[in-house]
Symmetry: C2
Subunit: 299 residues, 2 copies
């Protein structure tokens, strides 16, 4: 009867180093675990402290990497708002099942004032490909774009001479009103469910969660429309939001991210396109963009 | 400043009737909200009580619809196990971020005995297309299969003369060991993250959650390998698992599921392929299988 439990242990996703892949079977190809184990220091990068955001909750710290290459104005505004302590004491106001967690100023009538921060910015839905970001193309077709792949550690897509970030699990975006140019980064959301790729190029994405997703995904779902909390007391307080660059080194979270522009990452993609772990009986010879993990580790 | 909050309210997923779509803009095409509002009683079905499972937790009831057409032997075994009270007093033992919640017998050394239930069954990964299930085909390509679509209210795929259920959010499967024929339904898992379609036809799917996902998704993530709880005290007790057919009518959960073999459902697919809600500035003219909602309502 021991089988059943092992069975489920073998039902492995191994989305991060903390969850090593099952021991590879006799099959020849490499697993993700093999690839990470064999990786060189140069296969990893340390995100710039000036692009790392710490969302501090009573339950712990969520670490977000910003993507200034894709959303320079929104990212600059988020940094301004962080540095004027705009977010401190605000709250998570919305948790919608299989969709998003979202925070900002919940008060519609007595809004917290901004200093240098801006409450609305022109949309940054996509960028010209000619801007020359590196792009590691997935070998597989993507229904939402001409090509899908990875740029600077973020899931991204291309088509029609443009490139943009994609709404995969853990991606962070700037909520907006019905007008395309009404977001600013003062209200932010994180994808906590199946990738809502329908949102791609409809809203400005600004970064990705590197650590701490489970501090967000366990939050009670809001029972109001769109998952908003109905009672102010249900809101989850934000102790503070800080840039790592502004935090003493001893208090920073030390993380490395697997680079997405390397031969090792292309090996990882292949290992996930065709799972060789002993448990699998069928390799799919395909992977969709948002199923490719971008490993993060504590060095 | 009211804009920002509305903005996010407009960032709508509307996966269920409980979350009506935003008021449609002046654009002509129908939204999902319009389609559901205009639906006829015949566009909805009541699942058979004999195929409805109630997972009773201290926090409430999770309702699962079984799919005997796809996994007849596993479904029959699950019913046998439920009726011999096999699951009562067992626990949820694993919650892995962006992957699965899983329950069963956590004790490897002193397993709970089965009566007529079986601890292992031949895999039911796929079925012959000639079995003649209705299949509402998605108009869009699917990377994991020749066609993707819906059968009897479940997301499904087809190819090579076979048809199978797919690992979308909320799908329920029978954990197994490394051997393909080692699952039985005595250990079950539910997908709580981005659809792990790599599992398709690697493990037997047996049904889908109709109500109560958020009772599962808020559970603390296990800190052991693969998200297993490290301490027995962390496990989440299962009060009981029952078939609706065995529960007095007054205690049943009254649900209707939107049929997937109707003109109305094909309209819904189109409404989600090209979002016409006023908030959207770009319609994708595409949808991936696991982003199509299958609405459930309380009549």
């Amino acid at each position: 009867m021991r089988a059943a439990l092992i069975a489920l242990a073998a039902l492995i996703a191994a989305p991060a180093l903390a969850q090593p892949a099952a021991k590879p079977a006799a099959k020849s190809a490499l697993t993700m675990g093999d690839i990470l184990k064999a990786s060189a220091p140069s296969d990893w990068r340390r995100p710039e402290p000036d692009n790392l955001v710490y969302l501090e909750l009573a339950s712990g710290r969520v670490v977000i990497e910003l993507a200034p290459e894709f959303a320079p104005n929104h990212v600059a505004n988020i940094k301004t708002l962080i540095r004027e302590n705009y977010f401190d004491g605000l709250s998570i106001n919305r948790v919608q099942e299989n969709y998003v967690v979202q925070w900002g100023d919940p008060d519609e009538t007595d809004k917290r004032p901004m200093k240098a921060g801006k409450a609305a910015l022109a949309a940054e839905f996509d960028r010209p490909v000619t801007q020359g970001f590196p792009f590691t193309k997935l070998p597989d077709a993507d229904g939402y774009a001409t090509w899908a792949g990875f740029t600077n550690g973020f899931p991204a897509a291309r088509g029609g001479g443009r490139t943009w970030l994609t709404h995969c699990y853990g991606m962070v975006g700037a909520g907006r009103d019905n007008g395309a140019d009404t977001g600013s980064g003062a209200e932010l959301y994180i994808v906590i469910g199946h990738a809502p790729r329908n949102l791609d190029r409809n809203v400005t994405l600004v970064g990705r969660v590197l650590q701490g997703m489970s501090l967000l995904t366990v939050l009670p779902r809001g029972t109001g429309p769109l998952g908003f909390y109905e009672q102010p007391a249900q809101r989850v307080p934000i102790k503070a939001i800080r840039l790592a660059a502004d935090v003493p080194e001893a208090q920073r979270t030390n993380l490395e991210v697997f680079r997405t522009d390397t031969a090792a990452f292309r090996q990882l993609i292949e290992a996930r396109r065709n799972r060789r772990d002993g448990w699998y009986v069928r390799a799919q010879n395909f992977i969709d963009l948002c199923n490719v993990p971008i490993p993060v580790r504590t060095p």
